[in-house]
C-alpha cells in the first residue's frame, strides 16, 4: 500500500512540477456564467443530506446554505451569536428554562410557513432519530421519551426548551448553532415519512429547508447543485445556482481553475497553491479551521505512561520545521486542545524541538538508551510526512519508531479499541463550544475497557485524571462567560503539561479562486462555507 502510494505521490509531484514549468496557459477568460458559482471540491464524504444525521465536512457546508438555525453567526464576524430563526431568546431564573421568540413571515422552500411547531419538530426529530450527532442535543438531558415534554411550542411563535441541569447558557446557545439544530419543514417531512422514520429515508437525498438555497440534485462522488430559493431574510443572494463538483486530483482542480471552468478550487496541495499565487487572474484566501493535529501516547503502554517520558515527547516534534516546510500554508503551530477562535482559546506555545532536554528527561525516566515504539497513522500524505519527521526526531534520542500505516478506517478501528501505541492523527470539534474538545481530550469518567467511551480521546488513550475530570465538569456549568473562558484556559494548560497528547498544529485551509469572486467565506473554526454571500464582478 505504502509502496503504491509513494509511487503515485512521486508521479503527482512530477506532474505538478511540469505544470509549474508550463506556467500560465495563455489568455484564460472566466467561462462560468456571472450568476453561477462553480466550486471544485472533494465531496466523497457526503453520505446523507439529513441535518439530523450528517456529521461530515461536506455535509455541513451543504447544510449551512440550505437550512436555518435558531441562532447563527454573522458571516463577517464569527464569534458573537446572532439571531437566526429566533429573533430573541432568554433564560429564566431557574437556569434551565429557555424561551425563543421565532421570527415571523419566514417560509420554507416548499412555501409552507416556518413556525414554532417546525422548530419543535426539528429538535425532537433529531433526538428521536438517535443518529450520530444526536448527542449534541441529548447532552442537555433530552431522551426520545422525555423530549416532547422538554421541548415544546407555547404558541405559533414561541419555543420553550428545558434542560436537565443549569448549564452555562453559552454552552446551550453554541450547540444550537450546530447543523443538527437545522430547522426542517415538518409538513413536507410528514408527507415523506415511512415506518416512523421522520422522513429520514427521503431527506437523505432531498432538501426541506428555509435557507438561501434548495437542492436541485446530488450525485454521490460527483456533484451537487443548489438553486437560489427566492428572497432570503438574511440578505441578497447573488448566485442563482451553485455547482459543487467532486474533483479528486489537486492538479485537475488547478487546471479547471486556471482555465476558468471553475470559480473556486478548495482542495489544492501547497505546490498548486504556490503556483496559483503567481497567477494574476487568481487569488488565494486563508482561513483558520477547527482541526487539531496531534499525537497521543497510549497510557496502557508501560513506558509511554511515565510522566517524564510523556514530557520528553513534547520536546521531540519539530513544530517550526514542519510548518515551514511541507505543512506550509496548511497548518500553524498550536499546542492547546481548543482551536484558536474558540471561547477560551489558549495561545501559549511552551514547547519547541529540544533534543538535549528530551534526552535528559528520558534518562531520568530510565530510558536514556531509547526504546522501540509503533506509530499508527493513516495513509494520507500530510500525516505520513509528519510521521516521518517524528521518526527522525525520535531517532535522535534512540527511540526507534515503526510506522503502522493503513486506511483511515483501519487505523481508527485500532485506536478506538485502544490497541495503538502512539496514534498520529487529527481531531475536529463537533460543535462550536469549548466543551466539545474538553469532553474529548480531558474527560474520562470510567477508564475500564468495558466502559467503551470510544468517543473520548482520554479514554482511547487510557488517561484517567480525576482532577481534570472535575475541572471539565465545572466549566460546562459556569454561568459567567468570561469566567468560563478562563476555566478552559486553565484546563488546557494542565492537559498541555500532563496529558498524553502532544498537540502540534491547527489547520489552515487555503481556497484558491478567480479574482472576480468575492465574499467566499469558509466559516473559520466554528462555521461552514457560505455560498449565499458570494458575488462575482
Amino acid at each position: 500500500m505504502l509502496h503504491a502510494l509513494t509511487r503515485r505521490a512521486l508521479l503527482t509531484a512530477t506532474a505538478a512540477g511540469l505544470l509549474t514549468l508550463a506556467g500560465s496557459y495563455g489568455p484564460a477568460l472566466a467561462k462560468t456564467p456571472k450568476d453561477v458559482l462553480v466550486v471544485a471540491d472533494k465531496i466523497d464524504d457526503l453520505i446523507s443530506l439529513d441535518p439530523a444525521e450528517m456529521f461530515e465536512f461536506s455535509a455541513y457546508d451543504y447544510a449551512q446554505n440550505v437550512y436555518d438555525r435558531l441562532i447563527t453567526f454573522d458571516p463577517k464576524n464569527f464569534g458573537p451569536l446572532k439571531p437566526g430563526v429566533a429573533e430573541s431568546w432568554s433564560l429564566a431564573d431557574d437556569g434551565v428554562t429557555y424561551t425563543f421568540k421565532i421570527r415571523k413571515g419566514l417560509k420554507f422552500h416548499s412555501g409552507n410557513p416556518l413556525t414554532a411547531h417546525d422548530v419543535v419538530y426539528s429538535l425532537r426529530r433529531a433526538v428521536k432519530l438517535k443518529k450520530t450527532p444526536s448527542f449534541i442535543l441529548t447532552q442537555f438531558g433530552f431522551t426520545p421519551e422525555n423530549v416532547d415534554e422538554k421541548i415544546k411550542a407555547l404558541d405559533d411563535y414561541t419555543v420553550q426548551i428545558v434542560t436537565n441541569k443549569p448549564y452555562a447558557p453559552s454552552f446551550v446557545y453554541n450547540c444550537l448553532t450546530a447543523p443538527i439544530a437545522g430547522i426542517v419543514d415538518s409538513k413536507l417531512l410528514k408527507e415523506h415519512e415511512k415506518d416512523g422514520d421522520f422522513g429520514n429515508g427521503w431527506l437523505k437525498t432531498h432538501s426541506a429547508g428555509s435557507g438561501a438555497y434548495k437542492l436541485r440534485v446530488w450525485k454521490p462522488n460527483e456533484i451537487y447543485v443548489l438553486d437560489r430559493a427566492g428572497d432570503y431574510w438574511r440578505g441578497k443572494v447573488a448566485m442563482k445556482a451553485v455547482f459543487v463538483r467532486h474533483i479528486e486530483e489537486s492538479s485537475s482542480q488547478r487546471l479547471l481553475l486556471e482555465k476558468g471552468d471553475v470559480d473556486v478550487a478548495r482542495k489544492l496541495t501547497p505546490d498548486d497553491i504556490a503556483a496559483v499565487m503567481k497567477n494574476p487572474d487568481l487569488k488565494v484566501e486563508n482561513d483558520l479551521k477547527g482541526r487539531i493535529m496531534y499525537f497521543a501516547l497510549n497510557q496502557k503502554h508501560p513506558i509511554l505512561s511515565k510522566p517524564k517520558v510523556r514530557e520528553a515527547f513534547r520536546y521531540l516534534a519539530d513544530y517550526e520545521g514542519m510548518t515551514k516546510s511541507f505543512l506550509r500554508g496548511q497548518y500553524v503551530v498550536h499546542q492547546a486542545f481548543l482551536p484558536l477562535t474558540y471561547l477560551g482559546e489558549l495561545k501559549e506555545k511552551p514547547y519547541t524541538l529540544n533534543i538535549e532536554k528530551a534526552r535528559a528527561l528520558l534518562k531520568e525516566a530510565g530510558h536514556g538508551d531509547g526504546f522501540s515504539v509503533k506509530i499508527y497513522v493513516r495513509n494520507a500524505q500530510d500525516r505520513l510526512e509528519i510521521a516521518q519527521s517524528l521518526q527522525n526526531t525520535f531517532a535522535k534520542v534512540g527511540i526507534k519508531a515503526e510506522l503502522v500505516v493503513g486506511t483511515g478506517k483501519q487505523i481508527l478501528t485500532e485506536y478506538r479499541a485502544r490497541k495503538h501505541e502512539i496514534y498520529l492523527g487529527a481531531w475536529g470539534p463537533d460543535y462550536p463550544d469549548p466543551h466539545t474538545n474538553a469532553d474529548s481530550f480531558a474527560h474520562n469518567p470510567d477508564n475500564r475497557d468495558e466502559a467503551k467511551l470510544t468517543g473520548k480521546l482520554a479514554w482511547r488513550n487510557s488517561w484517567f485524571n480525576p482532577e481534570v475530570n472535575k475541572m471539565t465538569e465545572a466549566a460546562v456549568l459556569e454561568k459567567d462567560t468570561a469566567k468560563r473562558a478562563e476555566m478552559y484556559r486553565e484546563l488546557q494548560r494542565k492537559v498541555q503539561r500532563e496529558g498524553p497528547y502532544v498537540i502540534m498544529f491547527q489547520q489552515i485551509i487555503q481556497s484558491a479562486m478567480r479574482k472576480n469572486v468575492n465574499g467566499f467565506i469558509t466559516g473559520g473554526a466554528i462555521s461552514q462555507v457560505h455560498y449565499w454571500t458570494v458575488t462575482k464582478d
Binding site: E56, K131, T132, S252, T413
Partner: protein, 361 residues
C-alpha cells in the same frame, strides 16, 4: 463436471430415452442447461469470495455509517440494523437471498439502493470503455498487421515503440499530461468531468450515456461539449488497449503468414492485399476476438486512475471507494456487474467464433 454428465446419461436412458422428441429437445437444451449451471457456480463463487474477503479485512463497516464519534448505543443499533451481529454464513445467505429477489441492498456511502448507483456509474464507464475499445481496434489491428508484414523493418519498430510506451507509461501521468497539453495549453478538449460543470443535469437522463442522451434531447451544444470531454480520456484508455491489441495482432499474423496456405494463395496469383487482409487476417479473427473482448472487459471494470484524473464518475471509482470504506453492498453489487460483463463478453466472443469460423459451428 463428470458427475453432472453421468447424471444426465442416467436421465437419458431413463424416461427421456424412449421418446425421440423429448430426447431431441433435451439435446437442444443441454448446452444451455450446462451454461446455466456454470453461471450459477461462477456467480456464487464470485460473491462468496468477495463477501468473505470483505468481512475479513480489518475495517469496521459500522464506522463508515455512523462515523467515529458515534455514541455506543447508536453504534450498536446500527450494527444490528446492518445484520452484522449474525454469523457470517447467515449474513451471506441473507445477501444471496436478497440478490435473488433483485435487491442489491443500500449503499452505506451514498444512502441509495446499490442498483440505482450502478445505473448511474455504469453508463459513464460503458461510454468511455466502448469509445476506447473502438479506438483501440480501429488503430491497433491495422498497426499489428503492418508490423507483422514488415517484421523487423521500421514500421515494426515504430509499432513496437508505440506499444512499449503504452505499456510502461502510467495512465495517471499520461492523463495529467494530456490534460495539461490539450486542455490547459491548446484548449482543444474539455477539462475533467463529463461536461462543463454548469451543463450538468441539463439533458434528461434516459440511458445515462450523455452522448446518447444529448442526441435524444436534440441538444447539439451539450453533445459537442460531451464529445470534447470524452475524447481525451477515451484516447488515453484507447491507447492502452491499442498497444495490447497491436502486439497480439502482430504475433497472430506472423504465425499465419508462415503457413503453407499463404504460400499457396500467393502462388495462385492472389494480390498481396487479399492474401494479407482477407486470408491471413480472416484466420486470426478468432483469437483476436478473445483478445479484444478481454481488453474491453477490463475497461468496463472501470479504470480507477483514469476516472480519478478525469473526474469521471464511473464504476472503478465507485467500487474502489466502496472497498476502502467496507461498503460491502456496493462492493458486491459492483462485483456482480463486473462478473456479468466478463461472462457476457465471453459468451459474445463464443458466439462470434461461430460466425467467423465455420468449424466452430
Amino acid at each position: 463436471m463428470s458427475d453432472f454428465r453421468s447424471d444426465s446419461v442416467g436421465m437419458r436412458s431413463g424416461g427421456a430415452g424412449e421418446d425421440p422428441l423429448l430426447r431431441r429437445l433435451y439435446d437442444r437444451l443441454r448446452p444451455f442447461l450446462r451454461l446455466f449451471v456454470s453461471l450459477i457456480v461462477t456467480f456464487l463463487g464470485l460473491l462468496a469470495i468477495t463477501f468473505f474477503i470483505g468481512r475479513v479485512i480489518p475495517i469496521d463497516p459500522v464506522l463508515a455509517v455512523v462515523g467515529e464519534r458515534a455514541p455506543p448505543e447508536v453504534y450498536e443499533a446500527t450494527r444490528k440494523a446492518m445484520g452484522l451481529d449474525k454469523p457470517l454464513i447467515v449474513q451471506f445467505a441473507m445477501y444471496v437471498w436478497q440478490v435473488l429477489h433483485g435487491d442489491l441492498g443500500v449503499s452505506l456511502l451514498t444512502s441509495r439502493p446499490v442498483i440505482e448507483d450502478i445505473q448511474r456509474v455504469v453508463p459513464a464507464t460503458f461510454e468511455l470503455a466502448t469509445l476506447a475499445t473502438i479506438i483501440g481496434v480501429v488503430l491497433g489491428v491495422p498497426m499489428g498487421v503492418l508490423a507483422a508484414v514488415h517484421a523487423g523493418r521500421w514500421p515494426d519498430h515504430l509499432v513496437r515503440v508505440i506499444g512499449l510506451i503504452g505499456y510502461s507509461v502510467p495512465v495517471f501521468w499520461l492523463g495529467l499530461m494530456g490534460l495539461l497539453l490539450f486542455y490547459g495549453k491548446l484548449g482543444w478538449v474539455g477539462g475533467p468531468g463529463r461536461l462543463d460543470i454548469y451543463y450538468d443535469g441539463m439533458v434528461p437522463t434516459v440511458t445515462g450515456m450523455i452522448l446518447i442522451d444529448a442526441l435524444l434531447a436534440g441538444d447539439m451544444d451539450i453533445f459537442w461539449n460531451a464529445v470534447s470531454h470524452i475524447v481525451l480520456p477515451a484516447s488515453i484508455l484507447g491507447y492502452y488497449s491499442l498497444a495490447y491489441i497491436a502486439r497480439m495482432t502482430r504475433s497472430f499474423m506472423l504465425e499465419q503468414l508462415g503457413q503453407e496456405y499463404i504460400t499457396t494463395a500467393r502462388v495462385k496469383g492472389l494480390s498481396e492485399f487479399r492474401v494479407i487482409w482477407v486470408h491471413a487476417l480472416g484466420n486470426v479473427m478468432v483469437p483476436l476476438i478473445t483478445v479484444i473482448a478481454l481488453s474491453y472487459a477490463s475497461l468496463l471494470e472501470g479504470s480507477v486512475l483514469t476516472e480519478t484524473v478525469f473526474a469521471w464518475p464511473g464504476l472503478g471509482f465507485y467500487i474502489t471507494n466502496a472497498l476502502v470504506s467496507a461498503d460491502m453492498a456496493a462492493v458486491l453489487g459492483g462485483t456482480i456487474v463486473v462478473g456479468t460483463v466478463f461472462v457476457g463478453l465471453n459468451l459474445l466472443s463464443d458466439f462470434l467464433y461461430r460466425i467467423v469460423d465455420p468449424r466452430a459451428r
